[in-house]
């Protein structure tokens, strides 16, 4: 075992892994993290704790991960390259490992421009860092773990033992480079991969065929991203505006139908769309897991963590295997 994390153990067992996502709040209140952790606990093998997603200031990934961990939910701390240089990154990694965290997902991070959206002012004028990129951050984690060395070469008496993850957008432009992109992350040391949300399963399968030809599915555990659709509007938005996501018209039509079936009743329209969205998510989970080379699913119910229990159960992925009770290190 590289890290001994629950997620690593599930993946090593060959059973399909399930990860979920927990978004920390925009305040110093730990209760929201606790509440969401309780909702997710038992229904996933580990939950990603986002790192200031869309560049919005929230409880830091590490702090929220430590809180979730105390609740018995195994976290995957996320680390973006946007906000820290290699000094801060490594300091945070040492700290996170000292707190008992065992999974880390590396990603570039959304540009700070996205923090000003809707009613949020955000910090679009912030300076971004990008001292290192995702591949390089993966390499730093690997070097720390496997060689007990900081990136600069100084020794680490106690190495942080992380199960190293990276994100992958299989279907974004330039699409023929995306398999190479994945290969670089794997060669840098990514033990597991979580993909961008997938709706267009046939296109994803085309990309996965290339990945299998390259043998990458054997070197890393690919967890297919499933974003639970909540409304027809959300699906349309994802299709038109989110990079690397295309939503087949048939899915949008299904959500539209669910919405229309409620007539003027807005509450009912919401409920029917949520029901249909849940159904779609379950179908996508099955299709993803039937795709050769896929080792699990990463289910994101954005600001809707309560949906995970039902989805995981209905998808036949419950109960989750228990390998070790995660215990807080304190």
């Amino acid at each position: 075992m590289k890290s001994g994390s629950n997620l690593e153990k599930v993946i090593a067992s060959g059973k399909p892994a399930v990860t979920a996502e927990l978004g920390p709040p925009m305040s110093a209140d730990p209760h929201e993290v606790i509440k969401k952790a309780q909702m997710l606990k038992g229904f996933c093998d580990a939950a990603n704790i986002t790192d200031c997603q869309t560049a919005v200031v929230r409880i830091s990934s590490i702090a929220a991960a430590a809180i979730a961990f105390q609740q018995g939910l195994e976290p995957v701390m996320q680390m973006t390259c946007r906000d820290r240089n290699r000094i801060a990154m490594q300091a945070d990694l040492l700290g996170a490992a000292a707190l008992g965290l065992k999974n880390c997902l590396c990603l570039a991070g959304d540009h700070q421009k996205f923090s000003a959206a809707g009613r949020l002012k955000g910090h679009p004028g912030a300076k971004n860092v990008y001292d290192v990129d995702t591949c390089q951050l993966v390499g730093i984690l690997k070097k720390m773990r496997d060689e007990s060395k900081q990136d600069g070469g100084d020794p680490l008496e106690v190495a942080p033992k992380f199960f190293i993850g990276a994100s992958w957008t299989p279907m974004a432009d330039p699409i023929d480079f995306r398999p190479i992109n994945l290969m670089k992350k794997v060669n840098a040391g990514a033990d597991f991969i979580q993909t961008q949300g997938i709706y267009d399963m046939s296109l994803f399968r085309e990309q996965m065929a290339k990945i299998r030809n390259m043998g990458l599915h054997e070197k890393t555990a690919i967890l297919a991203g499933i974003i639970v659709p909540k409304s027809a509007m959300m699906l349309k938005y994802m299709d038109s505006s989110v990079a690397g996501v295309s939503v087949p018209k048939s899915l949008i039509d299904r959500m539209n139908k669910a919405k229309e079936a409620a007539g003027e009743d807005k509450k009912k329209a919401r409920e029917l769309q949520e029901q249909e969205g849940t159904k779609i998510a379950i179908e996508l989970i099955h299709q993803a897991l039937e795709t050769p080379g896929v080792k699990g699913v990463h289910i994101q119910a954005i600001e809707w963590e309560s949906a995970i229990e039902g989805i995981v159960k209905a998808a036949g992925l419950y109960p989750r295997p228990i390998w070790s009770e995660p215990t807080a290190s304190a």
């Binding site: 570039a108 971004n128 390089q136 432009d173 190479i180 670089k184 990079a243």
Partner: protein
Amino acid sequence: MIVGQQKPFDEIWGMVKGFKKVLVFGCNTCVAICHAGGEKEAETIASLIRMRAQQEGKQMTVNHLGVMRHCEPEYFDPVMDEVKKYDLVLSTACGVGVNFLSDRTGTIPVYPGINTSFYGAVEAPGLFKELCAGCGNCIVHMTGGICPIARCAKTLMNGPCGGTNKGKCEVGNEIDCAWYLIVERMKKLGTLEKLSEVLPPRNWATSRDGGPRRISLEHIREYEEKEAAKAGK
């Protein structure tokens, strides 16, 4: 070339209105090409200041001047006596020119008339694009001649982020994704496999992060010193 943009006139007025004798001093190289701070623009700004001063009933003498380059002393040395007659120089040279002149004007302040923006090129008449960030360690032989440091919003070294959308950067639809361009270009060059290698973290010490940089060409300095000594004899 260095590309800049004229500051909003109200900001310029805010800087100059407290002074009696103002010289608007243009530079006729890069910033003239981008229509920001050449002698012609300096002249326009000077007349705008005069008009505003008149409107507000202020007594001000405002003139303009331009030289070829603000980054080499021999170009402005001949006009330094003239420059020193003013109590403010509003330089419309790039930031280099503003600093360089400021180091040489004693008690006379030098204020910036333009916002120096980037190292770029003339993409089309009136359209300028950033192409290099002066990182001090050029690597574009590995990226199809396209710079990921200046042209990728995240200075990514190992390929595109997940935000590339139809060839455009996630930061804005008007910005080309550098990595999209790099991949397409390297496909054409038949060198795409070069991108398979993981580039390690960069040494940014050659860039701004190493502190202000200087380059010293010893052979030229020695030669100049010798010549100066000879002339002194």
